[in-house]
Amino acid sequence: MAQLLKTEFEGRLGPLLRLSLWTSVLSVVTFGFYRFWMKTRLRQHFWAAVRPDRTPLEYVGKGIEKFTGFLIALVILALLIGVLALVLVYASYAMFSEEYEAYLIAALIAVPLVYFASYRAKRYVYARTRWRGIRFALEPAAGRYALYAVGQWLLTLVTLGLLWPRMTFKLEKFRTDRTFFGDQRLHQGGKWAGLLKSFLPALACLWLILGMTAYAATLKTDEAVDGSGLPAADALTLAKLIGIIAFMTLPLFFFYARYRIVALRYLANHKTAGQIGLISNLSFPRVLGITIGGYILTNIFTLLASLATGAILSLLLVVVYPGLSDLGFSAMGALNEGRLNDVDGAVPSPEMATGFALFLYLATLLFFGVFRQCFVLFPTWRHYASTLSITGGEHLVGIRQRDRDEAGGAEGMAEAFDLGAAI
């Protein structure tokens, strides 16, 4: 009889809020250099909350590994990005008097690099994840993955997005088939066509937008040819078209978000590790609700926290510069908007004012990050975890430990690119 193991989720908001806030403050105070340790500690927290069959996942990575990996990647990338940015901006201004071309070429160079970096990052995270004391692993193949991804992208572009689900599937299969739990290799079953149906609504929106954009472009070229401007009727059509295109992006985002969730569920349900399988009951409405509600909460709390910080800064300003006392709690706001000219007595120097403004700005960023972590990522993670079950639990006996994968360089490159900003 196949044994079904349910995943429990055991995590509370309070401890996460404390940890997230504290580590974020440390990161800001250290000019961002604590971020490697911050991410490590947050991962430990998120991993330990996920408990398939009551045993917590473990994240055993170390901040120092991430830091050294980052340093190594930094030197290589600084050379690449510093010089490349310079040359590209020069070249595009020299040839086109604009910089869009520079962005375009930079993006083309960035695509394989991003896939390369993300594969290496995954490899490191898998190598530092354990469940029941057994290591996960991802075989080293970052270079081939990057090439493979570029190929998939080309196919997708050539077919105007029709083969997007194929790319989703093939890339996932590439990684899954190289993933191990202990000595057991994972396998991605299923077919890419299985994702096609859920992608069609998004594709329809995309093609509609593309078609209308192309049509709008023809209207514009007429104008260039006559030089007499658009006939009134055409101008009206153009305005309408632009309106419709802008409106269509909304369903596009909606259907694409739905596709992402459905694809994730399909791919999970077709993953196996020998006789062991997964069942995912991920629900798109739930994820959508969590995301929308989470961002509303995040923004409310960020606003409140920033107002409180602004008030504290205002008090500080009033204490140091008594001339501002009439302004009271709005001193910080007045400082930000440069409305201090008509104040008697000493006012903060421009450097001080910039300092205060910078502090408030950083504090707001920090609060947003922390609250997003707690109100969006955490509940989403909870939903992902608690809808996941493992089948064939009796076969876990046969899975044996594997050797340690150093995964040197950790997530250095991904870190430098700021990929995977979420955990």
Binding site: L74, A78, L86, V89
Partner: protein, 393 residues
């Protein structure tokens, strides 16, 4: 099977001593129900469980070998605490304890729970940090300036202008009080005519093209002027307000024309692109906006090298007499700035940067000595000067 018959825990066997916990041995993914018993007198934690074949496995973990799993010290199970322990000698094994009493006993009796394995490779880490800092410094201070100097000389004029327009818009945006409207350009018609007259007078005396420089006044209360790529020279209203004669403004503009002639702004802007690319890499998302903020500041308060500033001053000293203006005109404004703000302190302005104000005043006076006062002609009429002063009205 006779083997299993003898080793199967039979209902009649004595109940194993201890508390029921969960255990994995770090060899297979099988989780075992173990009975854990803390024997304080012997200084060990006794674990025993039946393995897959039904054989009873007995382990004795010395309390001194017991460790917390790093980062998993404060786990809970519902409201109750939960402990995960491992053995320093078999670090893949895990003991999951949910029993509050046993948990407290272990925490009280095991002496080295929080001990971590010794840190290795500290020397390597230091070398790595040193190497990274040195490489980044080399890239920012040597490589990028060298390349941008070379590229600045090769950039065609149209490209330079486009680059200058872009930075100009950025500056107007970032110094604006409002989120949506950029900083006001001062374009009173008669004031602009005066400005054009001043520009033509200076350019006519130089060997630059008549279209090489565009003058703009921005409505900002800041004693500053700066040049952007492509020959755009921006004068802040504060500078015109602070000047007591049109010659003082003309002298500052002559200095900025010097920067334009030497292509300093282009060099600087290209250098900024490379440098900020690298810096945003170093500080990560933490500083995304900060870097942009500082970047714009950097453009306005452009700190060119000491040589570049001296060269621009020399250029002005040579240009001004040809336009019939005494190079000494650079001095009075600087003298007043120095009286008000001290030597290059407190004044966040490119005008006050590297060469000490005092030195610049002295050199302006020295240049004025060889100037024949009889050759001087007012750069603007009194009326034109009045109109220039009200260009922002």
């Amino acid at each position: 099977m006779s083997v299993s018959a003898t080793t199967q825990p039979s209902p009649w066997a004595a109940t194993p001593e201890g508390v029921r916990c969960e255990f994995v041995d770090g060899q297979t993914a099988k989780r075992h129900e173990v009975f854990a018993e803390l024997r304080a007198a012997e200084g060990l934690l006794a674990l025993n469980y039946p393995d897959e074949t039904g054989t009873y496995v007995r382990l004795a973990w010395p309390l001194s070998h017991l460790r917390h799993v790093e980062g998993h010290r404060k786990l809970s199970w519902g409201k109750a605490p939960m402990g995960i322990f491992t053995n320093a000698m078999s670090p893949h094994a895990r003991l999951y304890v949910r029993d509050g009493i046993l948990l407290n006993e272990i925490r009280a009796q095991a002496p080295n729970l929080s001990r971590r394995p010794p840190v290795s490779g500290r020397g390597r880490l230091m070398a790595l940090i040193g190497g990274a800092v040195a490489s980044i410094a080399l890239i920012i201070f040597v490589l990028i300036p060298t390349i941008s100097d070379q590229l600045a000389l090769r950039l065609p004029v149209e490209g330079e202008r486009a680059l200058g327009d872009k930075t100009y818009e950025q500056i107007r945006q970032s110094f604006s009080d409002s989120q949506f409207l950029p900083l006001q350009e001062c374009r009173a018609e008669q004031g602009e005519a005066a400005l054009v007259a001043m520009r033509d007078r200076l350019l006519g005396a130089s060997d630059l093209d008549a279209e090489a420089v565009r003058l703009t006044v921005l409505d900002l209360d800041m004693i500053n002027a700066f040049a952007l790529p492509g020959g755009r020279i921006v004068v802040m209203r504060g500078l015109i307000d602070a000047a007591e004669a049109p010659e003082e403004v003309a002298a500052v503009i002559a200095h900025e024309i010097g920067h334009v002639a030497h292509r300093d702004p282009t060099r600087h802007a290209l250098r900024g692109v490379g440098t900020f690319g690298v810096l945003s890499l170093v500080f990560g998302d933490f500083a995304g906006g900060t870097v942009v903020l500082l970047g714009v500041n950097q453009l306005v308060n452009a700190q060119y090298s000491q040589e570049a500033e001296s060269a621009a001053d020399s250029y002005a000293h040579a240009l001004l007499p040809k336009a019939g203006i005494s190079p000494g005109a650079l001095a009075p404004l600087f003298e007043r700035l120095k009286a008000e703000y001290g030597d290059a302190e407190g004044l966040a302005s490119h005008l006050a940067s590297h060469p000490k104000l005092g030195d610049r005043v002295d050199r302006a006076h020295a240049a004025a000595d060889s100037f024949d006062a009889a050759a001087s002609a007012p750069v603007l009429s009194a009326l034109e000067w009045f109109r220039l002063q009200h260009i922002c009205d």
